[in-house]
């Protein structure tokens, strides 16, 4: 068999798979331009731009993403730092805890949370409450990204060097460890953005109007507007993932994120 012949069937196979992945995107694009009958145009997009609810929900999701990143890092960075520096024996515990969010499906977690936490209102009554489960959702990815980043550093030497120069723990973490972790931190942050921007389960059950909930709401009245928002959502995921791929120089396969929400 010639070389050309050997790749014929694989090429055809890849072509079919590619078609399956491109068709829904193209169809969504065409559909978002449909204005009824034979008319096509940007009416759906025009209508969306003037919806204050779109900007509110998009803004809310962005704000929640930033809060999730901050809370997640504040909680995780010291723990993963100390884990790698001094208490390696706790690693099995951390590995176990970080896969738990895969074992407890989001819909089950939200069921548990609603029965456990019914107040106080300043805590569960505002959209900021969503940050609590979002940090858990992002945990498998943030933990992995941080752990990989910390492992690549010689923490022991860094610690000893900065301490012999008189630095305290806070100085050590914020001025030595964190700046050395930029790549890992950006990777963790972008993955968190991708997760939070598309998150639907918690927001829908807890009745907060995030971006994904808004898309669902629009979809019940206008399919063309929902298609336009779908493309926007795809674009956001695309940008976040491109960012992860370009910052994460540690190689392919790092972006091991599960899809379903």
């Amino acid at each position: 068999m010639t070389r050309r012949g050997a790749t014929l069937i694989p090429s055809l196979g890849l072509g079919v798979v590619g078609l399956y992945f491109i068709t829904p995107l193209l169809a969504t694009g065409v559909f978002s331009l449909w204005e009824g009958g034979d008319r096509y145009g940007f009416a759906a997009y025009g209508a969306l731009i003037h919806q204050p609810k779109l900007w509110q929900s998009l803004g809310l999701s962005v704000r929640l993403a930033i809060e999730t990143i901050l809370v997640g890092l504040v909680v995780l960075v010291p723990a993963v730092f100390w884990l790698n520096l001094r208490v390696q024996r706790l690693r099995p515990l951390f590995d176990f805890l970080s896969v738990l969010p895969f074992v407890v499906p989001p819909i089950a977690l939200v069921a548990g949370m609603t029965t456990l936490y019914t107040g106080p209102d300043w805590f569960v009554g505002t959209a900021n409450y969503l940050v609590v489960p979002y940090v858990i959702l992002a945990l498998p990815y943030t933990y992995r990204a941080l752990d990989v980043g910390m492992r690549a550093l010689d923490l022991k030497t860094l610690t000893e060097a900065s301490q012999s120069l008189g630095a305290g723990w806070l100085t050590l973490i914020f001025r030595v460890v964190v700046p050395n972790l930029t790549t890992a931190l950006i990777g963790a942050a972008l993955l968190t953005i991708a997760i939070v921007m598309g998150e639907f389960t918690f927001a829908n059950i807890l009745l907060f109007n995030t971006f994904a909930v808004y898309i669902d709401y629009v979809g019940q009245t206008s399919a063309t507007e929902a298609s336009a928002l779908t493309l926007l959502s795809f674009l956001i995921t695309w940008l976040a993932m491109l960012g992860v791929l370009f910052t994460g120089r540690s190689g392919r396969g790092q972006v091991q994120i599960g899809g379903a929400r």
């Binding site: 829904p24 723990a79 499906p105 898309i215």
Partner: protein, 294 residues
């Protein structure tokens, strides 16, 4: 005891335990409060009735509708995982073939990372725009005389859901299986060929046995991924197909007249399925470790 480890800097040695507490406590408290306690709460809610311990609610999982929801969920996840396994596995294998163009690989990797994340409500709407009853493809096919919905196909069914789930299952499979495929050494194949093995012999006796643990663990990961999906089926079928996550959400939002305890029992059943599945995963992952480390 701690003297056995490498000598730490003097300052830290004096206060090691206290520091461990300060650094670890926020994380451990957070996970306990917002992941472990809520899960235990489900356990308590599902087993506690008005008059103490009861198996009533857990037993109610055996009732008609619930059984249907669990069977649908498991069937759907098993099928969607299988489709992802086969098509994703072949895709990854084809991309890695020596004759393939250079840029193809990074294209597939990048797009795979995006598509694996492109789930939820937007994915449902993308497929409604494509193959829904008024979707672009449906309408075009009708123009050339093919009536998709007339011939029994509907997107809002189990087969329809499998078709949609494939959109995030295939790329996830590509991401997960590529390292295992790369670990297959070219020399093994050459050695087999020198000994007179056909391509079929090679895969039957060398390739697939080595890949088997990776394939099994990938299958289980895909199963869990499909099993916990909520947004996609919710936005797509709005309850036409009974699935466990949608059933739980109906209980939580008060759409159906059942007790909170039944919702907890449902969620617990879901966790139970996932524990079994992840347990198998952990066992297999340990075996995979033997092949990957080298």
């Amino acid at each position: 005891m701690s003297a056995a480890t490498t000598p730490p800097p003097a300052r830290a040695a004096r206060s090691g335990g206290w520091f461990t507490f300060v650094f670890m406590a926020p994380f451990l408290l957070y996970v306990s409060a917002f992941l472990i306690l809520p899960t235990l709460m489900l356990l308590a809610t599902a087993f506690l009735g008005k008059h103490g311990l009861t198996l009533h609610y857990v037993r109610s999982l055996g009732q008609g509708q619930t059984v249907v929801a669990f069977r649908n969920s498991i069937e759907l996840s098993a099928l969607a995982a299988f489709v992802g396994l086969v098509i994703g596995g072949l895709t990854a294998y084809f991309v890695l073939l020596p004759g393939m163009p250079r840029g193809l690989r990074s294209l597939v990797t990048t797009f795979g990372a995006v598509a694996a994340n492109f789930a939820g409500v937007p994915l449902a709407f993308a497929f409604i725009a494509t193959l829904g009853s008024l979707g672009i493809i449906t309408v075009w096919l009708k123009l050339i005389g093919i009536n998709l919905y007339g011939s029994g196909f509907t997107l809002y069914s189990l087969p329809g859901l499998v078709l949609v789930y494939a959109y995030f299952q295939i790329p996830l499979m590509v991401i997960v299986i590529t390292p295992a495929l790369e670990a297959l050494r070219r020399e093994w194949r050459e050695a087999a060929e020198n000994l007179g093995a056909s391509a079929w012999d090679y895969w039957r006796h060398v390739g697939l046995p080595i890949l088997l643990p990776s394939l099994l663990s990938a299958y289980i990961l895909l199963f869990g991924n499909a099993f916990s999906a909520y947004a996609t089926p919710y936005a797509l079928t709005s309850g036409i197909v009974a699935l466990v996550p949608v059933a739980i959400s109906n209980v939580l939002s008060g759409n159906v007249m059942v007790s909170q305890q039944t919702g907890a029992a449902l969620a617990l059943g879901m966790i139970g399925v996932m524990v079994v599945v992840m347990g198998i995963y952990a066992l297999i992952a340990r075996r995979v470790g033997r092949w990957v480390k080298r």
